[in-house]
Amino acid sequence: MTDPVVRCENVNIYYGEKQAINDISIDILPKQITAFIGPSGCGKSTFLRSLNRMNDTIDGCRMEGRILIDDEDIYAPEVDVVPLRARVGMVFQKPNPFPKSIFDNVAYGPKIHGLAKSSSELQTIVEHALKGSGLWEEVKDRLDQPGTGLSGGQQQRLCIARTIAVQPEIILMDEPCSALDPIATAKIEALMTDLAKDYTIIIVTHSMQQAARVSQKTAFFHLGDLIEYGDTTQMFTNPRESRTQDYITGRFG
């Protein structure tokens, strides 16, 4: 049994007075894909964003409980969010490349963190990250072109390259394929499976098939509660909870 990388203990999250996450405890295992599923508004994104403290940027959002990454409490007062977010990268629902060149998009993270000592080293990092996201062959001749000029699927892979360029431990993905067509989705899914060899991936998805295809573990959320968490195969064939069963089979949600 491997040790979990992320341990969440009794996490409660509030937006002002409204509670969005109710007392969730969950352990996430390394070098695997964990899928968060559940009906709209159940708190998947909120919970995901709490793992790299992106919720800090929302006014009135408050968190209780403990989240440990590598046994370190990321909400401890002395923790700096900058290295935390370098360690826990995030890919968003809508592809959001910077309005800069493809190269600058990928190079941005390494640059601000001082990961490259020279420009040739930086080039290597960028090339490596773009290869890692499967985009290299498509863009190697136009690295100086704007990243916003790529197709939606390419933009999303560019955002993944941007994230892996800083060598995070964990990658959070919030519905990364919801704006993409089936072919681009298939590419990203293959990429995720590939990336899971080196990274811990947590993905929020509305597609049951996607969760079933790519993830090893699945967590089912409902109205801010964690209803069920377990192996994906077991969850999709033989769920313990009737609510999980109903959601997976499309009877509500």
Partner: protein
């Protein structure tokens, strides 16, 4: 389904009826809109025509070309071409001799009439001609001199011969002389060099906007270098870093209110603080610029905040997501994207400042200053104040020059707005 039921027919009928009403409403609305625009265009055209008809003649004036003997000994008695030497010299006499000779004027009253046709500044003009043509000393040269503004007004037909001589600003002998000069083909109607290169003067024919133009440039320069960085920094702080609490809320409300404060108030503030407390001199572009900066700040802050807010938050999230700090995400991504909007706001604010008179009157930029300012601490005035001063004078030529200066000010404004558009295009086209 060939036959329509009675109910379907009824529904169709009602739809047709309501459609008619809707179309009529739409048509009426479009016509209201069009007539509003037409009225606006008519007013605009009237404005341009009235300024144009008065102002365009103001760009020109009458000159007379006289043969003046450039006697080196008399012009430059010290022989060193210095200002002092020319001041001691007899430039004025040489000019008068030239006009007496040309008109064959003799006797005190005729000579007086003859020399009053010429502008008071003719000696200065002669000296600058000599300075530019040193090789022509000690020869007789045709020199182009300006006519006095009354003679000019006569030539433009503003002064009628039928008015009794006592009520005219040009007497009968002068009219005779002007016509004689005209008959000899010595009088020319040309683009006025005094308007563009002259500075403040009580003589209408010599008054120009150069001093005020430079005053405006210096004042705007100070205004921009103070208001833009300060405004942008304030906007960034309020929009990104400031905690959302009562204090920031009050500050926000006050900034918005500040934008509506009458500009004279800023002038009084400038007078009280910069001149009375800090002891800065009056009438200088430095103080004018600071006062206008205070006035422009709210405009810049408000427009900068709007353009920061217009940057999609997903861009900032992306930067935060790879571990940029709040500061880095803001200055690497949000501000560069907001800059075109900020600059546009700033230039519009500056255009407003360019047209401002009242606060500058308070700090004494209305003084009569002949020298052209060479730095932000030289006393000066600005274009709108110059216009304001000229509009106060009764001479016909000042009325025209007022309109000309308005045209120049409008040109300046259009140029500034053009620059704003260019900057916008250039920066936005990057991606």
């Amino acid at each position: 389904m060939t036959e329509k039921t009675a109910q379907q027919k009824q529904i169709e009928q009602r739809l047709q009826n309501s459609l008619k009403g809707r179309r009529a409403k739409e048509r009426r609305f479009v016509w209201f809109g069009r007539s509003a625009i037409a009225v606006a265009l008519i007013f605009l055209a009237t404005l341009f025509i009235s300024i144009g008809t008065k102002g365009i003649p103001g760009f020109f004036q009458h000159y007379v070309t006289l043969n003046v003997s450039l006697d080196a000994q008399r012009l430059d008695p010290l022989g060193d071409m210095s200002d002092q030497s020319f001041f001691d010299g007899e430039a004025k006499k040489l000019v008068y001799e030239a006009i007496y000779a040309e008109l064959e004027a003799s006797g005190r009253s005729k000579k007086k009439a003859a020399r009053q046709i010429l502008s008071n500044g003719s000696d200065v003009r002669l000296v600058s001609f000599v300075k530019n043509n040193i090789d022509k000393l000690d020869t007789v040269q045709p020199v182009k001199l300006a006519l006095d503004d009354d003679a000019d007004s006569y030539l433009r037909g503003f002064i009628s011969k039928d008015t009794p001589e006592k009520l005219r600003r040009v007497n009968d002998i002068q009219i005779e002389y002007i016509e004689a000069l005209q008959a000899k083909g010595l009088i020319s109607y040309e683009l006025s060099d005094y308007l563009f290169f002259g500075s403040a003067s009580r003589n209408a024919e010599m008054a120009g906007i150069k001093g005020a133009f430079f005053g405006s440039i210096y004042t705007l320069f100070i205004c921009f270098i103070i208001a833009f960085p300060l405004g942008v920094a304030t906007a960034v702080y309020l929009e990104v870093f400031a905690p959302k609490n009562k204090v920031t809320e009050i500050i926000e409300i006050n900034i918005n209110n500040l934008a509506a404060v009458p500009s004279v108030v800023f002038g009084i503030l400038g007078l009280a603080i910069f001149i009375n407390i800090f002891g800065l001199p009056r009438s200088i572009p430095l103080v004018g610029g600071i006062v206008l900066a205070l006035m422009t700040l709210p405009t810049i802050i408000i427009s900068s905040r709007a353009s920061i807010r217009a940057v999609p938050p997903s861009i900032k999230d992306g930067a935060l997501g790879v571990g940029a700090s709040e500061m880095q995400a803001t200055f690497h991504h949000v501000v560069p994207l907001a800059i075109p909007g900020m600059l546009t706001g700033a230039i519009i604010g500056m255009a407003q400042a360019l047209g401002e008179t009242a606060p500058l009157l308070m700090i004494g930029m209305v003084a009569f200053i002949v020298d052209i300012p060479n730095s932000v601490t030289d006393p000066g005035t600005v274009l709108p104040v110059q216009i304001f001063m000229w509009a106060d004078f009764a001479e016909r030529m000042f009325i025209q020059k007022t309109s000309s200066a308005i045209i120049i000010l409008l040109g300046f404004l259009i140029a500034m707005n053009g620059i704003a558009i260019l900057i916008r295009r250039k920066l936005e086209r990057r991606w």
